[in-house]
């Protein structure tokens, strides 16, 4: 446990070998890689659960799983994808990329960084183990509304709560670390308004995290107390209110959805300029748009609660505030498109994913706007239309951006180019599979099919069948991604330092693969 002042170049010697390297590492690239692998593993676990859901919904009627187990599947799918797949993937990218992009040697607090990561496998082990406990695992939806998650929950809910606490500690420490890194480790000359967009987006995301994860901790603590210690936060018999749960949860929950999309915005703002071979259009407006989205995300939470019974002024306020978010979001989409305008574009895999992101995320944004219309939401709420909406912003939104980032920076991480044709194949199969899965959900949702129910009316049968076929196609396609990553790590065409012709930024000034320690002396940024 000795520490050194790193005055000599570290490039010459690599890390220690073996398992303990990963357990004890304080290197941001090691930790970033672990986050990314963890996220991929969780992506497959969550994906498995999704396929169980889609199998059951392939046909009307109950055939494969018990309704009770179906509930556990919808719940665990959501929890694992949100907290286990999407968030850790972005944190992993942040770890790997931010120090390199700002010309710093590592994260500001490297040991804390290791702790943030290792909490995750442990907390998810606890979470997954609840499924084997008496009464089963979480079955109350990823939003765990009280009283379903309190009075009517299986006993394992207590372990769910503690697992979420550990995850929360991990997120808070991770985001504090990112804030400290960005403010403190920038190379001389790297002013805030010269920072790469990915760094900006993560700075803002970190603020969202430190502000709302403690609120999540608060609400699960209230649950814990209601369940085990006789308090009445969510029980009207004692003067509490189940709707209070929803307010506190969504105060966390809505910023949380932006936590899952802002880093994606950042990634796309790197990739589109690179492959359009033009600088990002409207850099400073991007920064301001991202900040306004983050700010607005704190005052829109009750758009998830239009039908629950809030006062009319509340309905109106939250409706208009929500629609306001479309303005900065529109600015971003406009800027991405304008960046491409008259660019000399090529369509390598990262660009394909980024373009699909722009188009499909926008579809998700539009369905979001429809949902934001309070009177209309009375029809849409808790139907498959909502499921379609958030899968459009999360799958071709967050997850496509993660894929885009992986293809874009994989040469820098591994030193090898991935096989382009396989990447393109992965893209097209994902693109088709994902649209096949989620587009029909708009129709069955508008027609009134409720979400989270294992059986449905005959009238929804065809579209459900299509969605299930799409889901299997999308799901199995992701094995191809795993294969591509492994192939690229093991070999392939050597990547140049600047792996993409149009790529800009400090990370491309480093050799590929980037050495274990980078920027032991700060580079000069002009």
């Amino acid at each position: 446990m000795s520490a050194v002042i790193d005055t000599h170049g570290h490039e010459d010697h690599g890390p220690k070998r073996g398992f303990m390297r990963w357990v004890t590492t304080t290197n941001h690239k090691d930790i970033g890689a672990m986050y990314l692998w963890f996220s991929l593993a969780m992506f497959f676990v969550g994906g498995l659960f999704a396929l169980i859901i889609r199998s059951e919904l392939f046909q009307p009627g109950l055939q494969i799983v018990e309704p009770e187990f179906f509930n556990q599947m919808t719940t665990m799918h959501g929890l694992i994808m949100v907290f286990g797949a999407v968030m850790p993937a972005f944190v992993g990218l942040a770890n790997w990329l931010i120090p390199v992009m700002i010309g710093g040697p590592d994260m500001a607090l490297p040991r804390l960084n290791n702790w943030s990561f290792w909490l995750l496998p442990f907390s998810f082990t606890i979470l997954l183990s609840t499924m084997f406990m008496e009464g089963g695992g979480p079955n109350y939806g990823w939003t765990f509304y009280a009283p379903l998650s309190t009075s009517y929950a299986p006993p394992s809910v207590t372990f769910f709560i503690f697992a979420m606490h550990l995850m929360g500690v991990s997120s808070i420490l991770g985001s504090i670390n990112i804030i400290a890194t960005i403010f403190n480790m920038r190379a001389p000359g790297m002013t805030l308004m010269k920072m790469p967009m990915f760094v900006w987006s993560w700075l803002i995301t970190s603020y969202l995290l430190v502000a709302v994860i403690p609120v999540l901790a608060g609400v699960i603590t209230m649950m814990l107390m209601d369940i085990n210690f006789g308090t009445s936060f969510f029980d009207a018999a004692g003067g509490g209110d189940p709707v209070l749960f929803q307010h506190v949860f969504w105060f966390f929950g809505h910023p949380e959805v932006y936590i899952m999309i802002l880093p994606a915005f950042g990634i796309v703002s790197h990739i589109i300029p690179a492959f359009a071979r033009k600088p990002l259009f409207g850099y400073s407006s991007m920064v301001y748009a991202t900040s306004s989205i983050a700010f607005l995300s704190f005052i829109v939470w009750a758009h998830h609660m239009f039908t629950v019974g809030i006062p009319l002024v509340g309905e109106l306020f939250f409706m208009y505030a929500t629609m306001l978010i479309a303005v900065p979001t529109g600015v971003k989409v406009f800027n991405w498109i304008t960046t491409m305008f008259r660019g000399s574009m090529t369509f390598e895999t990262p660009m394909l994913f980024a373009l699909a992101f722009v188009v499909l995320f926008t579809i998700g944004g539009f369905s979001g706007l429809m949902l934001a219309i309070a009177p209309a939401d009375f029809q849409y709420h808790d139907t498959y239309f909502v499921v379609a909406h958030f899968h459009y912003v999360l799958v071709p939104g967050a997850i496509f951006a993660i894929f885009a980032a992986m293809y874009y920076w994989l040469p820098k991480m591994t030193g090898n180019m991935y096989p382009e044709w396989l990447g393109k194949l992965h893209f097209w199969l994902s693109f088709v599979g994902m649209n096949l899965t989620f587009f029909p959900m708009h129709f069955i949702g508008l027609a009134g099919m409720p979400r989270r129910i294992p059986d449905y009316n005959m009238q929804f049968a065809d579209f459900n069948m299509v969605a299930s076929v799409g889901a299997f196609a999308f799901g199995f396609t992701q094995l191809l991604f795993l294969a591509i990553v492994i192939i690229t790590i093991r070999g392939g065409k050597k990547a140049e330092a600047k792996s993409w012709e149009g790529a800009e930024g400090l990370e491309w000034s480093l050799p590929s693969p980037a050495p274990y320690h980078t920027f032991a002396t700060p580079p000069e940024v002009k």
Binding site: I5, P105, N228
Partner: protein, 304 residues
């Protein structure tokens, strides 16, 4: 100082921290679940205690490592700024944790309880709780009121508190104690900056003593509430918000006071210089934060 970046070598501390905190959480889970099922022979407390001891041990080793590195001159100005940022935003996250509970208090007082009592836009809920009138402090819960006025017992009747704690007694004394402790810790800081070691020691000791006296009075208040006033965690949402807010605050006072005691010891060992004492400064920020939370509590939980 270009080129003097600080990069710590590999460390076993984080994984130890992970193991310790996971064991603690698992222990707490087993304990609570077994307790709920009336199972008295539970391994929970033992596992929890083991985890807690491990957490404390790891914290001790981790912090002493940081201190030793600092004394060995390994922490450059940049790393120290990172610690400053880290502590600052950690405190902010704590503020948001309290905000959740203050928000809950605000919501029940201004929205849900009036609605349950038939006032306001969602007053129709009163239909389910006939006879309930909105009051704060909530001495009679909706389920009690329903039972009293109609004879119908709710599925689970929750009793309200018998009496509540008036702000003018112990809470007022505690306010004075805690506010003065914020002043004393500031004096300690000034003394330290002026190189006045004795002053620092004394003022800091005074702060710690004030802190622990506060905790003592708070404990006395709880005993009184449970044994004489009939005010418990289970007495409706008044009891819930009261104990959760004051309880988490009390816990933070304990942590803060322990932190300051350690700073007192470290000062005695000569760890702090007039211009180099971030450990102490961090603890004193924490202390001011705890103090500010108390002011909020005193106003919104006790007085208003």
């Amino acid at each position: 100082m270009a080129g003097a970046y600080y990069v710590p070598e590999q460390s076993k501390l984080p994984i130890a921290a992970t193991l310790a905190s996971s064991i603690m959480m698992i222990g707490a889970g087993i304990w609570v679940v077994d307790n709920g099922q009336g199972n008295v022979y539970t391994s929970g407390p033992t596992i929890f205690a083991a985890g807690l001891v491990a957490v404390l041990a790891v914290m001790y080793v981790w912090f002493s490592t940081v201190v030793k590195e600092h004394q060995a001159g390994m922490n450059n100005a940049q790393l120290q700024r990172s610690y400053v940022w880290g502590m600052g935003w950690f405190i902010f996250s704590e503020v948001m944790f309290f905000a959740a509970f203050f928000g809950a208090l605000f919501y029940v007082r201004n929205f849900s309880i009036p609605w349950l009592g038939g006032e306001g836009e969602k007053g129709v809920t009163n239909m389910l709780w006939q006879g309930f009138e909105a009051t704060w402090p909530l001495m009679q819960t909706p389920s009690q009121a329903l039972e009293a006025s109609t004879g119908i017992a709710a599925a689970n009747t929750v009793r309200g508190p018998g009496e509540i704690i008036p702000w003018s007694g112990l809470p007022l004394i505690n306010t004075i104690l805690l506010l003065s402790s914020s002043v004393t810790v500031h004096f300690a800081h000034s003394a330290l900056k002026a190189g006045n070691d004795k002053g620092m020691s004394r003022w800091l000791a005074a702060t710690v003593i004030l802190g622990f006296v506060f905790v003592g009075f708070q404990a006395e208040e709880y005993v009184l509430a449970y044994t004489e006033l009939g005010l418990t965690l289970e007495t409706g949402v008044y009891g819930a918000t009261f104990f959760m807010l004051t309880g988490f605050h009390g816990l933070h006072v304990c942590i803060g006071a322990i932190m300051l005691s350690i700073m007192w010891l470290r000062h005695r060992k000569g760890h702090f210089q007039p211009k180099d004492h971030f450990g102490f400064e961090a603890a004193s920020w924490y202390w001011h934060f705890v103090d500010v939370v108390w002011v909020g509590l005193f106003l919104f939980v006790y007085i208003l």
